[in-house]
């Protein structure tokens, strides 16, 4: 996937040498500055999605219980012939910690991050209204985490 020069220059500024298709992995402390630069300097105005995936702890590889949060933002075509450009990036969040919310930069991230909090349990720090979006308000647990079993007792008759 070929990226334009300004995107590559911005990535170099944040220490990213290579942009894979699924997006470079950035540090959590960098993501706010990267997002602000993407929106204000390069014109990525459109927030496409935010998706979180839970990975359980891997004893062999020595990896803790963690969550991968993937973002994708888009720059729409302009009148001077600049084509549409999509930029993905992702970050790791260990369980028990939080990641900065991008809802202050892209308003479209608001409900997307609420959905990820609801289903995966990722805590977005600084989110204006971090409530459940899809599950019932009194639902215990986050259903898309790996430890949430299909045999989990639930009581649909309320």
């Amino acid at each position: 996937m070929a990226h334009p020069e300004d995107v590559i220059a911005l990535c170099r500024r944040f220490g990213i040498e290579e942009i894979p298709d699924e997006g470079p992995v950035v540090e959590r402390r960098d993501v706010l500055a990267l997002a602000r630069a993407l929106k204000e300097e390069l014109g990525f105005l459109f927030f496409v999605y935010c998706a979180a995936t839970h990975y359980p702890a891997d004893e062999k590889a020595g990896l803790p219980d963690r969550t991968l949060v993937a973002y994708r933002v888009r720059r729409l075509p302009s009148s001077n012939g600049r084509p549409t450009e999509t930029f993905p990036f992702q970050l790791w969040v260990p369980t028990g910690e939080s990641t900065p919310s991008l809802a202050g930069i892209w308003a479209g991230a608001d409900w997307q991050e609420r959905e990820q909090f609801d289903l995966v349990g990722t805590v977005f720090e600084g989110h204006p209204d971090l409530r459940r979006l899809m599950m019932p308000e009194d639902w215990p647990g986050h259903p898309l985490r790996r430890e949430y079993a299909i045999e989990t007792q639930h009581y649909p008759w309320r």
């Binding site: 500024r13 894979p20 990267l34 790791w92 079993a149 309320r158």
Partner: protein
């Protein structure tokens, strides 16, 4: 009297008036027939369309199948409708809303479960968020099977409902015997989370089962020590080779404001978002 009242299961609005007036047995029968004719030929439908069965419901109401010709019109409010057509999967979050809309419909009212999701949950039956059949929380008169049913199947279901209404109003309705395998089943009444009546073992068992795979909730009793939490992560997850550490970063070029922001911790960064 033409029909004994204790054998009657259907609500008869004119019954009390005609019962106290002597010599009006013939008029009573005629009025019942008239009411039955009027009720079964003006079944206004309330589409509770939550998924793809709603498309078939629209096709039924459109010109090719034209459900208007048997007197059924779809209305968007429960207060004007006689029949609730539940077309689609009902989730746990939607079920109280469906029940509330059902309670808002005026008597006499009927319900049609359209499609396998509304009847039994189908292959979403075992999912945590899906109600396994709407008849677990509200009464259903006619089941229209299919995934989704064709519009003529829904028409057939409405015709069957009309026959049922006629039989009930004429006093010929015989309630079907429950099958022996489902005769003992009953929808459990579980108080909501936060109610003082709700036993705390339910929350405990659900929380435990959601956190540890393969452990039964019966191992935890009241007074047990708090549930084990997943261990806190000890270190940073392994970063791929494309990610460099901040100290070996390429020299900063331009936009010093952004690079200052890049060195902030995540907590500070979240505060100014």
């Amino acid at each position: 009297m033409a029909v004994k009242r204790e054998e009657e299961t259907f609500e008869r609005p004119a019954f009390d008036v005609f019962e106290r007036m002597p010599g009006l047995d013939v008029g009573l029968t005629t009025a019942e027939k008239l009411l039955s004719w009027g009720a079964r030929n003006s079944l206004w439908l309330f589409p509770m369309a939550t998924s793809c069965c709603g498309i078939e419901f629209m096709a039924t109401a459109a010109s090719r199948f034209d459900v208007d010709r048997i007197g059924s019109i779809a209305r968007g409010t429960p207060r004007q409708c006689d029949v609730m057509v539940i077309a689609g999967t009902i989730t746990v979050k939607m079920a109280p809303r469906v029940k509330r809309l059902w309670d808002q419909m005026p008597e006499p009212k009927w319900a049609i479960a359209m499609g396998s999701c509304a009847i039994s949950g189908d292959f979403y039956r075992d999912i945590y968020s899906v109600v396994p059949g709407v008849d677990t929380f509200m009464p259903i008169d006619v089941y229209v099977p299919g995934c989704p049913p064709n519009p003529d199947h829904l028409l057939m279901g409405i015709r069957r409902l009309q026959e049922k209404i006629r039989a009930k109003m004429e006093g010929k309705w015989v309630a079907p015997e429950p099958r022996p395998d489902i005769a003992g089943l009953r929808a459990p009444s579980i108080p909501r989370v936060g109610d003082p009546d709700r036993p705390p073992e339910l929350d405990q068992a659900q929380l435990l089962a959601s956190m540890s795979l393969g452990l039964g909730g019966e191992e935890r009793r009241a007074g047990a020590p708090p549930l084990p939490r997943p261990p806190a992560p000890t270190g940073q997850p392994a970063a791929p080779a494309t990610m460099k550490q901040p100290d070996e970063r390429a020299p900063q070029t331009g936009a010093s404001g952004s690079s200052d922001g890049a060195k902030k911790g995540s907590s500070e960064g979240g505060a100014d978002a």
